[in-house]
Amino acid sequence: MSQIHVTTKINGDETEFLCGPEETLLDVLRDHLGMTGTKEGCGTGDCGACSVTVDGRLVCSCLMLGAEAEGHEIGTIEGVAKGDELHPVQKKFLDHAALQCGICTPGFLVAAKALLDRTLEPTEEEVRYWLAGNLCRCTGYDKIVRAVMDTAAELRGA
């Protein structure tokens, strides 16, 4: 099967890859680019474990073909920290113990950062519904919601 050449930007870096026409962006990230922080939970866009941003918009990478990334900017969990310096929302997840098994955590962080990039004044209800596309089976969500609210407050300088 012929491969498609794709030029894109991932976490700010110009990236080129070859992928099959049927391969999802998730497959490309994990299997071709070795970026395994993005996870497959359901493969049908219902769990959010594969969350990435495409031009700043939150997307399930299992629902998007790799070829569709052509010309777009992709953001993944690997780009949330700046080198060794964690993003404030990552730090707050640590402070609030907002994780257990950790496999949904990258998706939550990408989703939370996408919200915080949009607004630093989300209400708790906005946070809860914004994150309703991300499933977590371990934590019961409370600490996650607190961590995101706390991050917003910190970034506001509140």
Partner: protein
């Protein structure tokens, strides 16, 4: 000699230390099995699943599968070199691949091994399998009516003359309750990767709570001794019981393929196949008769717990046993008969799930209480209190273990006050009395949960500790990490034993090559067992170091003390690495294998008597809900929890277990519905149709408190208590609150069975009004 570093609180026992992998989790660098770098030449397997609930296989043509692009091999039962069986209890009823007949829709029949996962998945659909249908039963009530066999030996617990006690009681009620099952919905699905070695050897990376069982099963299926098989797991992306036995099949398929083809083989079913082909929490049908009096005191309980076990035994024996062990929850039943009926059905074989049958027992007990309260027009909490285990004469369980550590009276009393239960209930009752579309409910329910495997021999654990010359410590034990924070807690124990910072203890992957014959990380026992085993190993090394230091520095042994930051030898403080280097030069053995077995427990299943539990863990919750009586939709507004974890090894991790367990229990009792169609197909096989709680579903006010005053009277690791399972049952308060809200619609008992989906709540409102 030097001054030791200042004592650090970092990583000390009883501190809220972060999960050991937390940094990797947030950075996305924690490696789960699917993230491991695949060795060159790795192949991928996909299972071919039955498309009938019960049928003979009359023809099977897999030639088109084998010829498909990218397919390397097709495996069926005929290709299994050893036994075609992964029954965890040795019943030989759990084939890897169905042979001759299929017994549930979704049963694996064959596996395709392809160059890529996609090639293997595509090829599966090319199979041509001829079936001759046989009658099938998916529902437990049908299984009872048609007298299907038990998959395993039932259990009866009894005391007293039940018929006489029921007859003599001033009041009696009879009822039936359905309790739904639950899919684990671990976010990381089942997965195994097998790497072939020389001779018979194979290394299997398996997402499993029970590496030793996977090892034994893979050996059994390959027909090789266990010593040829090594099973390893660093972490799981959730498990909840769903990886206690359910990983066996995947590991076996990967191993058989890897040994046959001489290449690494990975198998990772997609979510739909995972949900269809792996076992779940048992659904139950409970029939009960209760004798009680005008004060709401129970005189007698006669109950039958029939479970949908699926086509094979798996763990249904111990699961249905545990349903009976918890059918009393926190209540004394003077005369009692509890019987299990582990029914065979043509569904996937049900398995362990957090609570392990216990939650179903607890839910039934709370239903009985609620029904008595309704009949007497009383607050259910008064009925609960009237029936709590208490003074001698009212302190023996249906399995004849005396309850000696009951802290529920204090726990309940504190929670009633902190949650403002009585004021809020009075206000809600008054508001409901005014009518209206929105009705509210509030309930306080307790949990008493027995800690220990009821299979007494499982209550053992091993650990392996090495201290290297630089004073760094390598820690290994039989427990597995599934997100619950076990590795962190056990590392805290080890660091505390040596007085070293937590970051000097290396937490390592669970592997059958280091600690053999381990038990599943299950029954909430992980920290209790492995913490003690690790402590034993550390103490052995510490004793050798103590003897060495006493001799070298000529002080009595009791003057060698492992303090935080340094070892005090007489008047001097010696840095731990310096002591280790000196000990090494003096040829002191710096490695130890630790072991632990829970003392004092015994269980005679045939007699239904014994002391199966080392101790009980307690907790209580108050939940408040609002329902829309026109649609059945509801909101859980507020939850207050007071939970007993003894003297917590790590309050941050324990709180996480309480919160997560509660919400998982809430999902089980509310929105999570498993639904099979008439053809025996599970139609709720993905998150699109199976609804676990979301961030938007959970209570806005969620007050979780650990009972800080509690200390385990049993000699557990630092007097802590197990916490994995008990909090799940706190969610009974949500079901009971919903029941109260629905019940306010009319004079009749609403009989709200879980899962209390909006549809079920709507019907319960109708029932309260006198509907069917």
């Amino acid at each position: 000699m030097m001054e030791g570093p200042a004592p650090t609180s970092e990583g000390r026992l009883h501190d809220p230390v972060a999960h050991d992998s937390a940094h990797k989790h947030v950075a996305g660098t924690a490696v789960y099995i699917d993230d491991m770098v695949e060795p060159t030449g790795t192949l991928h397997a996909c299972l071919g699943l039955a498309e009938r609930a019960h049928a003979e296989i009359v023809a099977m043509d897999l030639s088109a599968v084998a010829e498909a692009q990218g397919v390397v091999a097709v495996l069926t039962a005929a290709d299994i070199p050893g036994a075609n069986d992964v029954s965890p209890t040795g019943k030989n009823d759990d084939p890897v691949f169905a042979e001759g007949a299929v017994e549930f829709h979704g049963q694996p029949i064959f596996a395709v091994i392809g160059e890529t996962r996609e090639a293997a998945r595509r090829a599966v659909s090319r199979a041509v399998i001829g079936y001759r249908d046989l009658p099938h039963v998916t529902d437990v009530s049908d299984a009872l009516e048609r007298v299907l066999p038990h998959v395993t030996e039932p259990l009866t617990l009894s005391r007293g003359d039940i018929a006489a006690a029921l007859a003599a009681a001033p009041r009696r009620l009879d009822g039936r309750m359905r309790i739904g099952g639950q899919d684990h919905f671990y976010l990381e699905g089942q997965i195994a990767m097998a790497v072939p070695g020389e001779d018979d050897d194979v290394l299997v990376h398996s997402s499993t709570q029970h590496p030793s069982e996977v090892q034994h099963m893979v050996a059994h299926v390959l027909g090789v001794p266990s010593n040829a098989v090594t099973v390893e797991v660093r972490r799981m992306g959730g498990a909840f019981g769903g990886k206690e036995t359910q990983g066996n099949l995947f590991a076996a398929v990967a191993a058989v393929a890897a040994k046959r083809l001489g290449r690494p083989v990975k198998i990772r079913p997609d979510r739909d196949d995972d949900m269809v082909a792996t076992g779940k929490r048992h659904d139950f049908l409970v029939d009960y008769a209760v004798g009680y009096d005008d004060d709401g005191r129970i005189h007698a309980v006669d109950a039958q717990f029939a479970a949908r076990c699926g086509f094979s035994a798996d763990l249904s024996g111990p699961v249905t046993d545990r349903a009976l062990f918890h059918a009393d929850n926190a209540y004394y039943y003077p005369a009692v008969r509890l019987a299990s009926r582990p029914m065979k059905t043509n569904t996937v074989s049900n398995t362990a799930f957090r609570g392990f049958g216990g939650p179903q027992g607890v839910i039934a007990a709370e239903r009985i209480i609620a029904e008595i309260a309704h009949a007497l027009g009383r607050d259910p909490l008064e009925i609960r209190k009237a029936n709590f285990y208490g003074e001698p004469g009212r302190d023996v369980t249906p399995y004849h273990q005396t309850v000696e550590d009951n802290i529920l009276p204090r726990l309940i009393s504190e929670l009633e006050t902190s949650a403002g239960y009585h004021e809020r209930r009075a206000e809600i009752v008054a508001e409901n009395a005014r009518g209206g579309v929105i009705r509210r409910g509030i309930a306080l329910t307790p949990v008493k949960f027995g800690i220990s495997f009821t299979a007494t021999w499982y209550n053992q654990a091993g650990a392996l500790v090495h201290v290297y010359r630089d004073g760094s410590v390598h820690l290994n034990h039989g427990g597995t990490e599934m997100g619950q924070g076990l590795f962190t807690k056990v590392a805290q124990v080890a660091a505390d034993c040596f007085g070293i910072p937590l970051d000097r203890v290396k937490i390592t992957a669970t592997t059958t090559g280091k600690v053999p014959n381990t038990s599943a990380t299950a029954a909430s026992s992980g920290s209790d067992l492995n913490g003690m085993a690790a402590q034993d190993a550390c103490e052995q090394i510490r004793r050798r170091l103590t003897a060495f230091a006493a001799e070298k520095w000529a002080v009595p042994e009791d003057e060698v003390v492992f303090e935080p930051g340094a070892v005090r030898v007489g008047a001097e403080r010696i840095a731990f690495p310096d002591l280790i280097e000196a000990a090494y030069m003096a040829r002191v053995h710096l490695s130890a294998a630790g072991f632990y077995k829970t003392p004092g427990i015994h269980w005679d299943r045939a007699a239904g008597k014994g002391k199966p539990f080392f101790y009980f863990a307690y907790g209580a919750a108050v939940s408040e809900v609002r329902i829309d009586t026109l649609t059945g939709e509801y909101i859980v507004d507020r939850v207050d929890i007071l939970h007993d974890v003894g003297r917590s090894l790590n309050p941050a991790i324990d709180r996480g277990q309480v919160e997560g367990g509660f919400i998982q229990g809430m999902g089980w009792l509310t929105t999570e519905e498993l639904w099979w169609d008439d053809a025996g197909r599970l139609r709720t096989h993905a998150p699109s149709t199976y609804k676990i709680p979301l961030a938007s579903d959970v209570p806005r006010v969620f007050n979780v408190t650990l009972a800080e005053w509690s200390e385990n009277p049993a000699r557990t690791i630092r007097r802590s208590k197990a916490v994995g399972e008990p909090p799940l049952m706190l969610a009974a308060s949500v079901l009971e609150a919903l029941s109260m809200a629905a019940g306010s619609c009319g004079p009749h008992f609403p009989h709200l069975d879980p899962p209390a989906t909006p549809e079920a709540v709507l019907m319960a409102c109708e029932r309260a009004r006198g509907g069917p």
